[in-house]
């Protein structure tokens, strides 16, 4: 029987039910098993954050937990028909599919092979004791005191594991598809780990698909370790109908001379929170964060980005754009942290929002915390409406008002998608965007 550490005095009320469930888990001595207990300790103390918590001021995730959600990663059926999914058939790619937090070998397909390259299930390689998994699992999330990460570490069973050895360029993107099904009640935890070696390259496309109207809350945690001189492009795509409830944590670390880009495109989502925390731990590295949230209905997307410049001569870019229609809400919270030793840092941050309706809301909080003196940082935020004179101009050229607006909105939003380097994905997303804007 496992007990909480003595240092944990009181269990947060919202953690109680999870705690009781967690006690039923089979203890193991694998990397995943070992990490569970300190994580549960941490979650027991933290509890589910409310809107009084500064980081959750605009996103009321606690309301979801009022009904007493529990972890259902272990109790949900994982059977699913491939025809229900968008498997990105237009892309030649490696595919890893996870249904309710469990690997589906039948839906998955790995095409790239190289010596030492791993594209597979975290649970499997956890059992096998893969060296890179041992060395890196929870090594980043552990330092990140955040309730959903702790909850994830305590409960998650499976997810993707990718290991790219040195000087290996993975020829095709790896699609990681997380499916959450209908009828589920509770939280599904899924966990992934990506470790890339020196001078390697990897493109990842993560897609979250929700089937049915009453789906579970997906709580996913992804750790990425980018090796020296390496390149990782990470894409997170949510384009389904506005039903998904999702909390995603991305915790990453970069080595020397590395590049890491994230592209987060939300064209839907009932309640979506994207947390990204990246430590630039090597010199001469670059990080890019590009986000688009084009929303309608009552959907809400909340992007939180934290870039920590810990070493000199690095550069980071953040560009997030929001197009908010109906009663949707967009939140952007960007934080640039420049450590004292991180001289010659260049960091840029920009958030632009267009409100398409009177009832749409946008909240922006750009933050700079700079402790070095020789740095170049800038941030900008704009919010507003489409320029009427431009609409008029297009109408004067024969477009109707709806067409004119759609065209201008498309141009505004496409800017982010254009940054994606996988051409077929870019085309597909632009197409999705057009469909959404002309609906």
């Amino acid at each position: 029987m496992t007990t909480l550490s003595e240092t944990v005095n009181a269990i947060h009320p919202t953690s109680q039910a999870f705690y009781e469930q967690w006690e039923q888990l089979e203890p193991t001595q694998t990397p995943m098993g070992i990490a569970r207990k300190p994580a549960m300790d941490s979650f027991a103390q933290l509890g589910i954050p409310t809107t009084r918590h500064e980081d959750w001021k605009y996103t009321n995730v606690a309301a979801q937990f009022k009904t007493g959600l529990t972890d259902i990663t272990n109790s949900t059926s994982n059977e699913i028909d491939a025809s229900q999914l968008n498997l990105f058939p237009f892309l030649k790619a490696n595919r890893l599919v996870f249904v309710n937090g469990h690997f589906s070998p039948t839906l998955s397909d790995v095409i790239d092979e190289a010596e030492g390259l791993v594209i597979g299930s975290l649970a499997q390689y956890n059992e096998l004791g893969h060296m890179a998994l041992r060395d890196n699992y929870n090594s980043l999330a552990n330092n990140y005191k955040e309730a959903f990460s702790a909850l994830n570490t305590a409960f998650a069973q499976d997810g993707a594991f990718i290991f790219v050895p040195a000087k290996t360029e993975v020829a095709h993107p790896v699609i990681i598809l997380h499916v959450t099904t209908e009828g589920s009640q509770g939280v599904i935890n899924s966990r992934s780990l990506i470790v890339t070696g020196r001078s390697s390259r990897l493109d990842v496309i993560e897609s979250h698909q929700y089937l049915g109207n009453d789906t579970a809350l997906g709580n996913q945690l992804l750790e990425i370790v980018v090796g020296d001189n390496g390149l990782v492009n990470y894409h997170k795509i949510m384009t389904d109908a506005n039903i998904g409830k999702h909390v995603g944590n991305l915790v990453a670390k970069q080595g020397n001379d590395s590049r890491f880009n994230t592209y987060v495109v939300n064209l839907a989502g009932q309640l979506v929170r994207n947390n990204m925390v990246v430590d630039i731990d090597g010199k001469n590295s670059e990080a890019g964060f590009y986000g688009l949230y084009s929303l309608d209905g009552v959907s809400q997307v909340d992007n939180h980005v934290t870039v920590k410049h810990n070493e000199p001569h690095c550069e980071s870019h953040q560009l997030f754009k929001g197009l908010l229609n109906d009663k949707s809400t967009g939140v952007f919270n960007g934080r640039i942290y420049v450590k004292q030793d991180a001289q010659k840092t260049n960091a840029f941050q920009s958030n632009k929002t267009i409100l398409l309706s009177e009832q749409a809301n946008t909240y922006t909080k750009p933050q700079l915390e700079i402790f070095a003196d020789d740095v170049k940082c800038s941030h900008g935020a704009t919010m507003g409406q489409i320029d009427q004179t431009m609409v008029f101009y297009l109408r004067a050229r024969g477009l109707d008002e709806a067409q004119a607006r759609a065209m201008l909105n498309q141009a505004f939003a496409a800017d982010v998608i254009e940054k994606i380097s996988i051409e077929p994905l870019k085309e597909w997303l632009l197409n999705q965007l057009t469909q959404q804007l002309t609906r």
Binding site: E169, S199, D228, N229, N256, D257, N284, E315
Partner: protein, 252 residues
């Protein structure tokens, strides 16, 4: 072309170069590898004339002249080019303006007429194609808002413009993806001829798959401790530097 003999140099009283020696002849490519903090970048900076360092002993002769005696801009005009490890951003100065001023200084030194705007643009466009740089970048301030890869390509572009006799590439390959690396390497390979020479300082053996060096030197603790052909680089990539350190430390 270049003779470095028993070079000792220090910064803030700390000795970085401890008897460095190297002979570079026209037409040669020398690769210098080594673990972090062994003085590779110090060497590059001293050859270019950065004044933070005190040269305490030794000589550097470049085409018969005492290189250490010259101001940084004189060295540049004499034909020493450094592709910087961290190319700085120069606010407000477009690359076109910058290169025009620079190229004309170099030409003046070589007793050539300055290029007028039209001639200059012609040369510039040709060299830009050469390193596959987007022409749009030319109107932007030098390196400002450039990605890491663009900055490094811009260094090679400038090298192509100034046609130096001795080019020192200080980790120009670091942080480049394979496409950018090929462009940089192609640039160097196209510029290479029997009259000029290159010193390529690198961390990653990968570059040497594209720029084939005549010599590979391992630098450790402020001097060259091992020299060989290109196979030495492969050996280093596979085995790391510990064995070199052990060898050196054992003989001390």
């Amino acid at each position: 072309m270049l003779t470095i003999d028993n070079l000792h140099a220090s910064i803030n009283g700390k000795e970085i170069l401890k008897g460095f020696g190297l002979e570079v002849k026209p037409g040669e490519v020398h690769a210098i590898m080594g673990p972090n903090g062994t003085g590779k970048s110090t060497l590059a900076n001293i050859l270019a004339g950065k004044e933070d360092y005190d040269v305490t002993d030794g000589t550097v002769t470049f085409q018969g002249k005492d290189l250490l005696d010259m101001a940084p801009e004189e060295r540049a005009r004499e034909g020493v080019f450094l592709a910087f490890q961290y190319p700085v951003e120069i606010p407000g100065v477009s690359i076109a303006n910058f290169m025009k001023a620079s190229l004309n200084e170099v030409r003046k030194h070589r007793d050539l007429q300055p290029l007028d705007a039209v001639e200059f643009l012609k040369v510039m466009k040709e060299k830009m194609r050469f390193v596959e740089i987007d022409e749009k970048l030319m109107r932007r301030a030098v390196n400002e808002g450039f990605s890491g890869g663009e900055k490094k390509r811009n260094e090679i572009f400038q090298m192509a413009m100034l046609e130096p006799t001795l080019s020192i590439l200080d980790e120009t390959d670091s942080g480049l993806d394979i496409d950018a690396l090929r462009i940089v390497a192609n640039g160097v390979n196209k510029l290479k001829n029997e009259n000029n020479a290159f010193i390529v300082i690198t961390h990653y053996q990968r570059l040497l798959d594209y720029i084939v060096p005549d010599f590979v030197h391992v630098m450790y603790n402020g001097r060259i401790v091992k020299s060989g052909g290109k196979e030495l680089a492969l050996e280093l990539e596979a085995k790391g530097y510990d064995w070199i350190k052990q060898e050196v430390d054992a003989t001390v």
